[in-house]
Amino acid sequence: MTGHALLEVVDVHKRFGTVEVLKGISLTVERGEVVAVLGPSGSGKSTLLRCINHLETIEAGRILFDGRMVGYREINGRLRPESDRRTARVRREIGMVFQRFNLFPHLTALGNVTEAPVHVLGLSRAEARERGTRLLVRVGLGERLDAYPSELSGGQQQRVAIARALAMQPKLMLFDEATSALDPELVGEVLAVMRDLAAEGMTMVVVTHELEFARDAARRIAFIDDGVVVEEGAPAEFFAAPRTERARTFLARLLARG
């Protein structure tokens, strides 16, 4: 096996204007691991996820995916932006699922899933359709291959979005509050797909407010507050006996609400 973790986030700083959102955050994710990222809103969870595949630039620190730096290259000890083409190459191997789905509205469900395999990986249309159909069947949408996103429910759209990311056969999946925009009765079907994925050994970083999912499906919890990882540990420990005051307050508030 290779000696390095699949994902290493090391001392990353990120600011929007004068507001520092990430204040030297570090996180390591091993192959096959599912890490649930919890924390109050505005704590930097989503920003961390977006930095991991370079949808956001960073000011300091480094992000290593499978041993390669994401978005930057080091020249004489200084970070320089990496070319669009090379960054795109790294992103192929990192799937991302967004809170608001971001399906392509002008393409059918199958079109959404085959677009990148055909135009990025260079698969033939037949291969891509075969792969896409298989994935849509797997997320329970084998009957809706030709439906446009506007004809699907939120839960169905998010399942298409997961299939779309999986079609690139990524080594890592990022979930950015994937169930937060869904009606309560549709949350379950998306979480079920995510649980299956976790059970099959996919490496996942999941930003979520679903404590139950975090407890059952994650191997590790990373609790973020104010731009740093405040506490990390196994779900059982974290939920039963959080070590930090901030984690205790956060859990108490969430449980009181739920």
């Binding site: 192929r92 971001n102 399906l103 990148a116 446009y148 506007s150 979005a161």
Partner: protein, 258 residues
């Protein structure tokens, strides 16, 4: 009786489909299609420059619109044909002089490009930034994202105003008659100047302009339908053009059936 005496229907009937008039019609169509196409390319390019990281490129885009939208088209036409050679003899890469057709085409295209820049900019801005993020997260490069995901969605917003511009261009192309490009209007002008049959010739050109603009709005409706794939019916407009297209479709079927 007086009215009947002043209008000679025979002049109209004899000339509506004469070779002379048809040549003018053809040139009007060629000028319109070519200048709209070149204008669309210019407009897309300057709209993209407007979003550039480099302030000089953004300024170039703003300056282009300011200059060519802010001065009369008629002035620009005369400028390209008469004034530019005076300023810079032999400027054109081939014979050093543009033919009147070429100068007219350049004037119409560059002018149209300024309007198209604003239309394309609005179209690009109308696409949710999440679309580009989803595409980038699948490993698409910036140009591929633009071509496959953003532009097709911008088209939906862009087609109605471009249809407007196309119709305006059919008529505005008559302005190049001042540098003696023998398009539809100049043909008529030369005829009524020598025969003094003003009314008859104006009716002839008006019939042709109406026919061409009607055809253009049917084409627009067809394009709108094509690019609204995946959108709910409620978002689609059923303008006069679309209704006409449907009516013509019914008419066509009936004729085939009969």
């Amino acid at each position: 009786m007086l009215l009947a005496g002043t209008l000679d229907w025979g002049v109209i009937g004899n000339n509506l489909f004469s070779d002379l008039v048809l040549r003018g019609v053809r040139l009007t169509i060629v000028l319109t299609v070519l200048s709209m196409s070149i204008g669309a390319v210019l407009g897309t390019a300057f709209a993209l420059l407007r979003g550039s990281r480099f302030s000089a490129l953004r300024a170039a885009s703003i300056g282009y619109i300011w200059l060519f939208r802010g001065t009369p088209l008629l002035v620009q036409i005369v400028f390209w044909y008469f004034a530019l050679p005076q300023l810079w003899p032999g400027w054109a890469p081939w014979n050093g002089q543009l033919s009147s057709f070429q100068a007219g085409l350049v004037a119409l295209s560059v002018n149209q490009g300024a309007y198209m820049t604003e239309i394309m900019r609005a179209g690009l801005l109308s696409v949710d930034p999440g679309q580009a993020e989803a595409a980038r997260s699948l490993g698409m490069t910036a140009p591929l994202t633009m071509r496959r995901i953003v532009l097709p969605q911008a088209m939906r917003v862009v087609i109605p105003p471009v249809g407007n511009e196309f119709i305006a261009m059919l008529k505005n192309s008559s302005l190049v008659s001042v540098i003696s490009v023998s398009e539809l209007f100049l043909v008529a002008k030369l005829q009524y100047s020598s025969t003094l049959r003003y009314l008859e010739w104006l009716i002839i050109v008006s019939i042709w302009y109406l026919a061409l603009t009607t055809l253009a709005s049917v084409g627009q409706a067809w394009l709108e339908q094509r690019f609204s794939r995946g959108r709910g019916r409620g978002e689609r407009s059923a303008g006069i053009g679309e209704r006409m297209a449907r009516a013509l479709g019914r008419l066509g079927r009936r004729e085939i059936g009969a």
